[in-house]
Symmetry: C2
Subunit: 755 residues, 2 copies
């Protein structure tokens, strides 16, 4: 820390003492006042055992060699983690699955016209980074679950390669059919790019990291700074995870290790339809430099020192990919502390352990915090404490290729989990900066309490207060309502979960209320899924003191401890109802906006405005008139929302009325039973249209965004696909689901009122 | 034109026939119906004489060699233009002034640390462009009216170098004092950059063309495409023109050729305070590459393939500049067709003839249209037609260094012009695309009629209709009110004039109603003020057929012909009142926005939000609390606006009531006398605060924007400077001026009503 900052920080500490996290006085949701004090003192003991030096050493150990799914060191890591858990007193086992995991045999990308250039497709060793030289064990740069292919074609540049980019190309008369598309990383999850490219007839797909989004435009590149250099490339899965995650061959069921060994790729609906490969911006530059055709729209241009053209031609590329389509073992480490009072209520906490290469940040920075929690919980246990509920800690394998370890485990234990799981608390990576949380809004109030009780290492205010400051300072200053909402609302809003980490099978397949937690925002991240995601990089550019590792352990530990120890599981519903009201408003507004935009677009098409405004030297394709957007009946949804709001308020009244007293034990247990299954009432066994694996009716990853969440997905995606009938039908389905949820809340209220 | 476009265009022509410009039926403002028909037939004859081949040949001739102020070929061009005018029957003379025009003796820019690099400061010849090799006659790359200097200092990058950029630097603890600032072209007029840099204590200033704004980011670079290449640099004046334009030694008076020869630079208040030089992005790259310090804010980063840092250090630069501070002759070509009926009412039309180098586009593309007009008017005159009013055509010298020719001429003839000028119609450059017009809103309705009567060469609809289409298609689609205004308002709004061309002395010093006209928007322009602004470039990338040169001549010719021939000069005031209402609303909103922002900023400072949101690894300077913004009394302005609105409506009623008849000759003359001097009623002899040369109270170039207009400048700039008392005083002054303007309108109304 710089000398210049010491004084103001000291002053701040004194000034903000009244707000500091270390003197909490707030009552705890789920606890009677008399128990809350004991809980907080337990948490102080928990905190005292956290040692940043241990986190650092675990990271050094776990990231010392490449440890991807199926690798020797991946197995070694799993065994090391399991041994640690055991040494801390946890009942630990490794659960093994057998999953499809292709690795490359042939990777060729060469420009064959107008000049010849063969891509290096390799990240060179950097001398400041010792593990970057472990070439023999590194997975090469590739996209997992691309199909094999050998294609040659003219290149077109498709920006981020999302549906609206193809609309833009169409307006310029450019067709992807038979082309190899060059897309830049960003805007959507990478797997969307080959999916959309194939839908438009492309025969191959290259995805590169443009320095505008991921390179020197952002900051100094590695090893001078933390950002991606011109040889850095982003590995990653391109399986169609919005259809279903996990092993492509076993959707909905656990990929047990004793299954038949044959691989029937025809069953694997989540493989890409065309070959796809990631490349560095060094390898992309010659392609873009020689590309002709119209100049790309302004917002499509990146930071390479060329004029971005759309093509097609004269750049022509030969892409050849072949993979070893093998099954590999996945090792999930599962550790338990059995609950004393309610052993059949499980609080689950997880973080994956596999990486693309050495993965110091992704995932080890999150995993070491989880390990610190486990060690400290183990020590509490060793000193005589036993949790009321069962605590399960998990280190997942195979998250990177497609949430394999978590999905297969959740699928293998589906009924037990639906019966016993209270909540799932996920982390993945961690870094210096601001608290980040998304999840089930039934846990919003709960996690806000946790965040108010943990102190930010850099500023000594609570991590909640610092997050609020960030949202105000970095938010849209022109959106005054939003800023007022951030300032005036006692709790910080939490984001909804899309996908991208191991909470997905729990939340969206099984209906287990979930949270995803971490810190970040101050660490330049240019090493995502590269060989440079190393101990050397992390300890130089990210969180060298592991202060934020400890902060995450404090958040994770408190979250688990409170979920495990509360007299009644700490769910409440007014925050959910408040957020749901926004979602309902959003879909209604989406329809209105689409209607207005369609009218306007059709008017522009009709009166030739666009043609008159176009430069006749450019090709102009007149836009086709679109079907007018009808008024969609959202009344069922709005009525269901009103019911949820009523039920949430009633439960809250009953809950706060009884907050001062300890409830009778049988009431507590009966309430737990209702509350811990409330999230399941938001799911539907039939799942979402065209993707039954995704059962949650409020949160889902977008079919065309991948990671990005779509709230009320059935309704929203029907609207986006302009299927008005389906939207109306989905509104009814969502309404029925929400009504069921309200009934569930009412059950809990009744228990409170009659006991 | 591409084959693919032929069919849709044909279809369009038929479909739009009812709207085509060639069948005008609208009554003409200033003309009785019976005269309007004759006027239109005169305009048909005018059009028939326009020949694009002649425009092309004149451009080839005039841009064949470098012709800057004081150059041999500049004089040759002036004599050629004068000879042409004479041959077309115009009473022509060359008026000579003697003006300060420094040219470089020494230009050195070298990086002395951390490595040594000497800037080339030269644009190489391009073989596709024959005139680019005329090195002996070319002015080198430099900024005119920079002072001499020999400085060495650490470099800081200041983005566009406007005041808000220095506020941003201050927040990061970076001080310009003693530094050499590196600013990129754009956002403000270039002369603002060294002015603001000097105010912040910098000792030198470099201005480079970043490829983000002016280079490969925009499109292919010369000679492959039209955009600026890595050696291209932008010459230009840095005189403090917002203080006063024209000869720095003779503000307010004509720089007569017989004045004493000595140069007393101490009188020249518009020279820069520090040395300044423009460089190419090729020369800027090594400086930026080695610059350290914090990474620049995202919006500051350009398109060079480096991480943009702010400095200071380790980049250190030595800048040495010395100039030959000489007086040179400026040759204005002034040609007249004397009016038959009202010879003492002058319609003035001008375009400059001097360039920075060969200047095919700037200014010859505009000048050849003006010459075509003059030739056709001369032919009409030769066939017996004589204008009712006197027409004056001017080709100005010395516009580039600081509007020298026009300003000295306007100052030399100030009383005569204030007495006789009806209006001044300017053009400068011209290109393919869309009609562009700014000017006095008293001429808005008039120029809209002209624009409805001229056909766009590419689309065959009127240039007004095409401009409307562009505004709708390229406007902010989220601003629905604006789009509705564009669609529903019968006339297109015209922009207000700031500065940047020869209308300034007429409009803002003398109070002569002015228009600035041209076409453009489809021509990639990367050759501004470089040696590549050539005949070769223009005829390849801009308007090869000179169809838009002819279109400009049609607009310019109609504008002049109607102003010269109208029975009553075609001013009206409702468009002005409508626009003024927006300006009054704007300044009130400015005060409100500043008040709200100040409150919010102070709140953020008080509650430490910004400090909590900052990364402690970055230097953070807590913002100082600002004085709260009081409520300013805009009532005088609002009352004056109401008077102008009333008067405008009353005049309009009177005007339209009498529109069907020819008014008595003496009423016409009396009306002319009042209307042609109305714009003067918007000026004030004392001028604006700290810059008395600028007398107009509604339009002025911004003191800190240079070209960009500030409307109601006295009030607005006082607000921007947070001088609330001055703002209130200026509101009163503006109100008095506007009341005087309303009285002038009432005089015109009275003449209409009593005659």
């Amino acid at each position: 820390m710089r000398p210049a900052r010491s004084l103001p920080l000291l002053v701040l500490c004194v000034a903000a003492a009244g707000l500091a996290a270390d003197t909490p006085t707030e009552s705890l949701i789920g606890f009677s006042p008399v128990r809350a004090a004991g809980q907080r003192s337990l948490e102080q003991r928990f905190d005292a055992a956290l040692d940043p030096a241990e986190l650092k050493e675990w990271m050094r150990r776990l990231s010392a060699r490449p440890h991807h799914l199926g690798s020797p060191y991946g197995k070694d890591d799993a065994e090391f983690i399991a041994a640690q858990f055991r040494s801390w007193g946890w009942d630990t086992r490794i659960e093994e699955f057998r999953v499809l995991f292709p690795t490359p045999k042939i990777r060729v990308m060469e420009m064959v016209a107008p000049t010849v250039f063969r891509a290096t497709l390799a990240e060179p060793m950097v001398k400041e980074d010792p593990t970057s030289g472990q070439a023999a064990e590194q997975l090469p740069v590739y996209n997992a679950y691309s199909i094999d292919g050998d294609v040659t074609g003219d290149v077109i540049y498709v920006n981020y390669g999302v549906p609206r980019d193809y609309e833009e190309l169409e307006r310029r008369g450019i067709d992807a059919k038979g082309k190899i598309v060059l897309a830049r990383y960003g805007s959507s999850w990478r797997g969307i790019k080959p999916k959309v490219a194939a839908e438009h007839g492309a025969v191959g797909c290259l995805i590169y990291s443009d320095p505008r989004d991921d390179g020197y435009f952002e900051g100094d590149v590695y090893p001078r700074g933390p950002y991606r250099n011109d040889a850095g490339a982003q590995r990653g899965s391109v399986a169609d995870m919005p259809l279903y995650p996990g092993d492509p061959l076993t959707p909905g069921v656990g990929a047990m290790p004793d299954r038949a060994k044959g691989v029937d790729l025809a069953q694997a609906r989540t493989l890409t339809k065309i070959p796809v490969m990631p490349i560095s911006y060094g390898d992309a530059l010659p392609l873009l430099k020689s590309l002709g055709g119209p100049v790309a729209p302004e917002s499509w241009r990146g930071a390479l020192p060329v004029t971005y053209h759309l093509g097609p031609g004269p750049t022509k590329v030969h892409l050849e990919l072949a993979f070893d389509w093998k099954l590999v073992p996945a090792y999930d480490v599962i550790a338990r502390l059995a609950g004393s009072e309610r052993p059949d209520e499980w609080v689950i906490r997880g973080n994956h352990h596999d990486a693309w290469v050495n993965g110091a940040e992704d995932p080890i920075s999150g995993l070491v915090a989880l390990m610190a929690e486990a060690k400290s919980l183990g020590a509490l246990h060793g000193s005589g404490w036993t949790p009321k509920r069962t605590i399960v800690y998990a280190a997942w394998d195979g998250e990177e290729p497609g949430l394999l370890g978590s999905t297969e485990w959740a699928e293998a234990h589906d009924s037990e989990l639906q019966q016993k799981a209270v909540a799932y608390v996920n982390s993945d990576s961690n870094g210096r900066g601001f608290f980040q949380v998304q999840g089930s809004h039934t846990l919003e109030k709960f996690i806000n309490q946790v965040a108010r009780d943990v102190t930010d290492p850099e500023t000594r205010v609570s991590v909640a207060q610092r997050l609020r400051a960030r949202r105000i300072a970095f938010g849209n200053e022109d959106d005054k309502e939003e800023r007022k909402d951030i300032r005036d609302r006692p709790d910080l809003r939490i984001g909804a979960l899309g996908s991208g980490s191991d909470y997905t099978p729990f939340l969206q397949h099984l209906g287990v209320a979930s949270l995803n937690i971490g810190f970040g925002g101050e660490n330049g991240n240019g090493i995502y899924h590269s060989i440079y995601d190393s101990f050397a990089h992390y300890t130089r550019f990210n969180d060298p003191t592991f202060a934020y590792g400890v902060a995450l352990a404090k958040v994770g530990g408190r979250t688990v401890l409170r979920l495990a120890e509360a007299e009644v599981v700490p769910f409440e519903f007014t925050a959910f109802a408040d957020t749901l009201a926004r979602y309902v408003k959003d879909v209604a507004k989406l329809a209105d906006d689409m209607r207005e935009k369609t009218e306007e677009d059709n008017r522009l098409a009709r009166d030739n405005t666009l043609e008159l405004a176009a430069d006749p030297r450019d090709r102009f394709v007149a836009p086709k008139a679109k079907e007018a957007v009808p008024f969609v009946n959202f009344a069922p949804l709005q009525n269901a929302l009103a019911k949820v709001q009523d039920s949430a308020r009633a439960f809250d009244r009953a809950r706060t009325t009884r907050a001062g007293e300890a409830l009778p034990a049988d009431t507590q247990k009966a309430l737990d039973e209702v509350l811990m299954h409330a999230e399941q009432a938001l799911t539907r066994p039939e799942g979402l249209p065209i993707r039954p694996w995704f059962r949650h009716q409020v949160y889902a990853p977008g079919f065309y965004t991948g990671y990005g969440v779509k709230t009320l997905p059935g309704v929203r995606e029907a609207l986006e696909q302009r299927d008005w009938k389906a939207a109306e039908a989905q509104a009814v389905i969502a309404a029925r689901t929400l009504e069921g949820f309200a009934v569930q809340i009412d059950r809990a209220t009744a228990l409170l009122e009659k006991s």
